[in-house]
């Protein structure tokens, strides 16, 4: 038999791919190319086409991508929104948008224009773009399986109500936010009703409000991100099943500023993070069943502010060193465990040389309780009188809850 079934089917496949190749074209946009502007090129384009945009300055109002195309910027072409329009709107699935500079979007609090906004689309990739001075940077609503990678998002916001978020995601699922750099927006990364997503290796700093802000976003992971000097640190609210590994929270300073603020969170794991020089490193309110382990708390005003409405949290194997107060709380009810941590303020001994102190450690100092109720008393901190009071309280606890203690404080810091 000259033609086997296999051969025929292979031929058929070849034909099909060839027609397909004939269908999807490459369109060039730029000075001296087939198209001068992006909009006519997009009108011409069909699904699965590739549009190359060469370096130039494009000011064409709102650019809507409603076909499944790949848009590639060559040498970072600039798309300008003239401070009136939403710059790029992606309204189709399977769009790739990469290598552009998108700038000067409009400002409106009714429809939230963004530099790049994705409406109701799946499998969109936004990569290697530079976003400058937009109201919202990258905005995803009802997105699924979208990837936002290696973008630099920069704005120059001064007041909270006059600037949007860097990367804003709303009612989305399975997003990947990787390696972005966000600066000067209201919130660096904002998640609301976003599930099964990963935020990995992003840098978010000098944002006006939060470096990262998420609410009602379950089953997400935050890994190896870096948050520095954001107005109020990082806030995590009304969420469950969250994983936070290896992030750095640094220099969140101010009265209402936290390394992480956790409010109504349950079943989360916070592991291997570094909290450095924050006013309050980790603030827990209504947080339940959390596992907080292998973190480093150093140089903070307050290491852990744990409100009395938190329960069943396990705080273990952390290093607390160089904090003004390791822990503070607002009540006397203790429903959490604090074992096997390293505390640099521990003054006990270890007679059996097993590396674990023989006396329990009371991490809650009298003065942190006093300051919780009467913040001005900070003026007298470290005066002889206060040191005397603290000593007595350590020996005979009366104001601080007696069962607030680490029964197995380790003597050497963990290698974290």
């Amino acid at each position: 038999m000259p033609f086997s079934v296999l051969k025929i089917s292979l031929l058929f496949l070849l034909l099909v791919t060839m027609t397909q190749m004939a269908i999807c074209r490459i369109i060039h946009v730029g000075p001296g190319k087939a198209f001068k502007n992006i909009r006519p090129a997009l009108l011409e384009a069909k699904d699965y086409d590739t549009v190359y945009v060469y370096h130039s300055f494009y000011k064409e109002g709102n650019i809507v991508i409603n076909k499944k195309i790949v848009m590639i910027g060559v040498d970072q072409p600039v798309i300008d929104g003239d401070k009136k329009y939403e710059v790029v709107s992606i309204k189709s699935d399977d769009v790739v948008f990469k290598g552009f500079q998108v700038q000067n979007s409009g400002f409106a609090s009714l429809n939230d224009p963004g530099g790049i906004k994705v409406y109701d689309a799946n499998d969109v990739v936004i990569e290697n773009n530079l976003l400058e001075n937009n109201f919202f940077g990258i905005y995803i609503q009802y997105g699924k399986n979208c990837i936002i990678r290696n973008n630099r998002v920069k704005a120059y916001g001064i007041e909270e109500q006059q600037i949007g978020n860097g990367i804003h995601c709303w009612k989305s699922d399975s997003l990947q936010i990787i390696g972005n750099h966000i600066q000067g927006h209201r919130d660096g990364i904002y998640f609301e009703f976003v599930t099964h997503s990963i935020i990995w290796c992003n840098i978010s700093k000098y944002n006006i409000r939060y470096g990262l802000h998420f609410m009602f976003s379950n089953d997400d992971a935050y890994i190896n991100n870096y948050f520095e000097a954001n107005g109020a640190g990082v806030a995590v609210m009304y969420t469950k099943n969250v994983i936070m590994y290896g992030n750095t929270f640094k220099n969140s300073k101010g009265d209402a500023s936290y390394g992480i603020l956790l409010k109504e969170i349950s079943d989360a794991e916070i592991r291997g993070n570094r909290f450095i020089n924050n006013t309050s490193a980790l603030f827990l309110e209504g947080a339940n069943r959390m596992l907080i382990h292998k973190n480093v708390f150093s140089g903070n005003g307050w290491g852990l502010k744990i409100q009395a409405n938190c329960m069943d949290n396990v705080i273990t194997e952390n290093n607390f060193a160089g904090n003004t107060f390791d822990i503070s709380t607002n009540g006397s009810l203790v429903l959490n465990t604090f074992n096997d941590n390293y505390w640099d303020k521990y003054e006990g001994y270890d007679l059996d040389k097993n590396g674990i102190g023989d006396l329990p450690f009371h991490p809650l100092s009298l003065y942190s309780v006093i300051i919780e109720n009467n913040p001005i008393a900070m003026l007298l901190y470290r005066s002889f009188m206060v040191t005397l009071l603290e000593r007595t309280e350590k020996l005979i606890p009366s104001i601080t809850p007696e069962n607030f203690r680490d029964d197995r404080p380790v003597l050497k810091p963990y290698d974290l």
Partner: protein
């Protein structure tokens, strides 16, 4: 005046107590920093010494020295030297000797082990404290002719400034906790040189915590450049005012 100052310094150094003082301070600070790898913790231990031991030694030593040199002063007064010159050179002599031993004992290890800004704050406030208490001691010695009463007074003053004052501030703070007392409290504690010194060091070490609720007040009052200058001026006033009063009394005193 130069001659008298030189003589006083030589005399103080000769009596070896001051060398012993420098040695003790040195042993303390070297052992603190070599045992403790966490420098901010080391600074805190050192702060207790600076806020308690240094003023105590300065005030007691200067006071006793003044009483012991009563005959020497009488002798000098009979010479053609101005009284204020005698008093000033005694003051300078005491202050220099005590400050040198402070610098040798605490200054060197602090500069070696502690970050520069924090270290300088610790050293400057320590030197201020030393000089302030020399000045207060001289006032005590001129106020009380009787040695026992004079030393008693200086111990009382030391106790008041380093312990009782803070207790009082704390007491008022709790009594009036419901009122907006931030500013009066800050001013109140700025009036005590020991508190002032402590707050300056606190601003270096516990910055993160101070950025909290009281941060605004703290920053405004003490943390800014003006705040820093104001606290420096307040400390200088603590040196100058008791000294001027004592010099006035000495000028009029019937020896």
């Amino acid at each position: 005046m130069k001659g008298i100052t030189k003589f006083v310094i030589a005399d103080i150094l000769k009596n070896r107590i001051i060398l012993f003082y420098a040695l003790i301070l040195g042993v303390f600070s070297w052992s603190i920093f070599s045992l403790e790898d966490n420098t901010s913790k080391g600074i805190m231990s050192l702060l207790n010494i600076i806020l308690l031991t240094v003023p105590l030694v300065s005030i007691i030593f200067s006071n006793i020295y003044m009483y012991n040199s009563a005959e020497f002063i009488e002798l000098l007064v009979s010479q053609p030297v101005k009284r204020s010159a005698i008093w000033t050179s005694l003051f300078i002599g005491l202050a220099v000797a005590l400050n040198v031993s402070f610098l040798v004992g605490i200054g060197i290890p602090v500069l070696l082990f502690v970050p520069f800004m924090t270290g300088m704050t610790v050293i400057i406030t320590g030197m201020m404290i030393t000089t302030i208490f020399v000045s207060i001691a001289m006032l005590c010695s001129i106020l009380m002719r009787d040695k026992a009463r004079g030393i008693g007074l200086s111990i009382m003053l030391w106790l008041f400034l380093s312990l009782i004052y803070d207790g009082l501030v704390l007491f008022f703070m709790f009594q009036y906790a419901d009122y907006p007392i931030e500013k009066p409290m800050a001013i109140f504690s700025a009036l005590n040189p020991i508190d002032l010194a402590r707050i300056q060091v606190l601003l270096q070490v516990d910055v993160a915590a101070l950025m909290g609720y009281t941060g605004a007040i703290f920053k405004k009052m003490f943390g800014t450049m003006t705040g820093y200058l104001v606290s420096l001026i307040l400390m200088l006033l603590w040196i100058v005012i008791p000294f001027l009063i004592s010099i006035k009394l000495f000028n009029k005193k019937d020896l």
